[in-house]
Every structure is written in structure tokens, then in C-alpha cells.
Amino acid sequence: MQTHKAKQVAITIEAPMERRLRAAIEEAGVTGYSILPVLGGSGRSGPWSAEGQVGLAGGMVQVSCIIRPDRLDGLLESVFSVVERHIGVVTVTDCDVLRAERF
């Protein structure tokens, strides 16, 4: 099937920052993204787990955007302004997409 080159940007960020990250993504002109739950993990700030937690403070989410390659820089800059002072991981992966007209 016909596929098209795209980039997948995955941002793992603290849950209380989700709203701001979404705003930043939309500001970069990207309207498509999905949010995946993260159950726990470990990093420089130590291990954590969502289990039994009530507050947002403890948790993280992963925001994944599939974009056209030419939008990458704009998106990363916008995202960076949010994650800059915060913990979190940003990865970019090459991928192919079906139905590229959607992006």
C-alpha cells in the first residue's frame, strides 16, 4: 500500500503539565496527537508508580504526535519551551503513514 514519510514525536511528561503541552502542540499548528497513560517508571528523579495515587503530581503521560517531516522543527521548538524546565523525555522516530492527506 502507498505510505508516506512522517515523524513520530513522543513526549513523556508529568501529568500536571499535560494541558500546557497540548496548548504548545496546538500552537505549533499540530492538531493531531494521542495521549497514552504511563504506569510508572524511573529516571534521574528516581522511580515512581501511579498505583494507588490520588493526585496528578505523581504521574506522567505520553503524548504522541504523528506529523509531516517539515513540521518537526516547529513542533520541537514549541514542545521544548514547555519541557525545558521540566522532567520528561522527547523522542523523534521516522515512520511511514497510511492516508498522509490527514496530516
Partner: protein, 325 residues
């Protein structure tokens, strides 16, 4: 003293505290016992809604009185002022930098609603009453401390700013909305309206609180296990001393405005307790440089268990002594 010992014993032997202890022990022993996140959140919604509504119904019963206003005001002042005390103490007792010290102090100005709820159930067991509006005081005390702490940080030149979004998040955070909303519902429906739903919100309340405290014990124990190294003797001492200071501040505020014993006790608890839900979330957004390992360990791992086990009987004994209750 005698009264205190028997209070302490009966508190420590209550199913609420024992459930919490079970959670801590299970977590320290690294049992795989866990609460699903969704269940913990659902339980907390239930508890907040129930406690808010009960407060509102009680206010509807007894009529709004001037003391509601003065109590809320006292609460707001306490919440705003205590971070300054905490900050000063932290600079004396520990080596925390300005940002971490301010972040910690925000937690101590704010409140722990679960400690408050545990307090109301101690009152109940002791056959004492309190004013329904103390729930409104609790809601009012959540946020001011955050602003004081941010002010402390910004005075130090660091760029912690509160934008409109963060303002809304702080003031309309879920637990405030639930408490205030349910309080309003309680005031509107009154005792009659409550009657239809009290076999959900009143009778099973204490049992549900047991399960919630079990979960809090699991979370606190897990946090302690992970953050042991963070706990210097200075921090530990602060985590035990600050609630006592807060409790005394609450007592003075409450006495000034003439609160009766039960409400005085609750005011002391509010001042003595430290937030571990609303404030941490705000700190992650506004002051990401501050280490959650420090403020969460202190408020959830040290001060919360202390208040729950020893603090409650201490505060009640003091409240009784000074109010002649």
C-alpha cells in the same frame, strides 16, 4: 495526661489507624499489594463529596452564622502565614536551598483533607460535635499557602510565576470544587435531602475511609522506602515539629475567634496538616526545580502518619484543655 494517653490508645487502636499501619507495613515489606489508581481516585471523590455535603447540611441545620466568615478568614490567614514560619524554620533546621524550602513550606501552609476527616471521626467517636462550616475553612486553606510560597521564591529572584492558567488550576482544583460544591449542595438540600442519600454518604463513610487509609499507607510506605536517603535528621525533625507549631497556631487562631472545642480541634488539624495532593501538583508546574522527593516524603511520609497517630490525640487533648471543653 491520663486523658491524652487513653485518647492516644483509642486512636491507635481504631480500625482507621490500623488500616493505615497495615498499608505502611505491607509497602515496607514490599508486598505486591496495590490499589488501582482509579479506585483510589474514586474513593477520594466519594470522601470529599461526603464530607462536603455533611458540612453543608450541618450549616443548613444551624443557620449561617458570623463565625463562618471569621473562621474562613482565620483559615486563609493561617494558610498564608504558616509558610513563612515553615520557611524560616527550614532555613534554621536544614540545608535546603531557597526553592526547596519554599516548596516544602507551601505544603505545610495548606491542608490534608484526610487528616481533617480522620479528625471528624475521632470527634464522633468521642461523642463531640463541630461546626459544619469547618469544611469551608478546609477548602479555603488549600490555596493561599501556594501563593505565599511562590512569593518567597520570587523574592529570591527565581522565576516562579503564576499565569492565569495556573491560577485557575489552583483555585478550581478538583478537591476544592468537590468540597465547596458538595458543601453548597448540602446547604441547599438540608437534612431532609440528605436523608435520601445518607445510606450511601454517611453510614458507610468510615469503612470507606479505612480502605482509603490502607491505600495512603501503601503510598506513604512506598514513598518512604524510595526516599529514605532524602531524610536528613533536620528534615525529619522539621516534619515532626512543624505540625505541632501549626497546631498551636491553629489553636490560637481558633481561640481568638471563639471556636468551641470540636471546631477548635479541627482548626488545629487543618493548620497542623500538610498537603500532598493539590500543592505537589501546583509545585510541579510552577517550581519544577524543587525536588518532589523532599516535599512528598516530608508531608506524606512523616507529617501525615505523625498527625494521624499521635497528632490527633495531642490536638484533641490541647483543644479540650484550652477551651475548657
Amino acid at each position: 495526661m491520663d486523658g491524652f494517653l487513653s485518647l492516644a490508645a483509642s486512636n491507635l487502636g481504631s480500625p482507621l489507624i490500623l488500616s493505615f499501619v497495615l498499608g505502611v507495613v505491607a509497602a515496607l515489606g514490599r508486598s505486591d499489594l496495590v490499589f488501582p489508581e482509579a479506585a483510589a481516585k474514586a474513593l477520594s471523590i466519594y470522601l470529599l463529596f461526603a464530607i462536603g455535603m455533611k458540612g453543608g447540611v450541618s450549616v443548613a441545620e444551624h443557620g449561617i452564622d458570623l463565625r463562618l466568615g471569621t473562621s474562613v478568614l482565620t483559615g486563609v490567614i493561617l494558610s498564608a502565614a504558616m509558610p513563612l514560619v515553615a520557611f524560616w524554620l527550614l532555613q534554621i533546621m536544614t540545608r535546603l536551598d531557597r526553592v526547596n524550602a519554599a516548596a516544602v513550606s507551601a505544603h505545610y501552609g495548606s491542608i490534608s483533607i484526610v487528616t481533617f476527616v480522620a479528625g471528624t471521626s475521632v470527634l464522633e467517636s468521642a461523642g463531640m460535635t463541630s461546626d459544619g462550616f469547618m469544611v469551608a475553612v478546609a477548602a479555603a486553606m488549600e490555596a493561599p499557602a501556594i501563593l505565599s510560597a511562590l512569593w518567597l521564591i520570587s523574592r529570591g529572584g527565581s522565576g516562579a510565576t503564576v499565569d492565569a492558567d495556573l491560577w485557575r488550576e489552583i483555585l478550581l482544583n478538583g478537591s476544592i470544587v468537590l468540597l465547596v460544591g458538595a458543601f453548597a449542595i448540602g446547604m441547599i438540600v438540608g437534612k431532609e435531602g440528605m436523608a435520601e442519600i445518607e445510606s450511601f454518604f454517611v453510614a458507610p463513610f468510615k469503612g470507606a475511609l479505612c480502605l482509603f487509609l490502607l491505600d495512603m499507607g501503601l503510598v506513604a510506605g512506598r514513598g518512604l522506602r524510595r526516599s529514605r536517603d532524602v531524610l536528613t535528621p533536620g528534615l525529619l525533625a522539621f516534619g515532626l515539629l512543624m505540625p505541632l507549631i501549626g497546631g498551636m497556631a491553629g489553636a490560637m487562631g481558633g481561640l481568638l475567634i471563639g471556636l468551641p472545642t470540636g471546631s477548635l480541634f479541627l482548626m488545629m488539624i487543618l493548620a497542623a496538616s500538610a498537603s500532598y495532593i493539590a500543592v505537589p501538583a501546583a509545585m510541579r508546574v510552577a517550581v519544577p526545580e524543587a525536588d518532589p522527593g523532599i516535599y512528598l516524603t516530608l508531608s506524606l511520609g512523616i507529617t501525615f502518619p505523625f498527625n494521624l497517630t499521635l497528632g490527633l490525640p495531642i490536638y484533641l487533648a490541647i483543644a479540650r484543655a484550652i477551651s475548657g471543653g
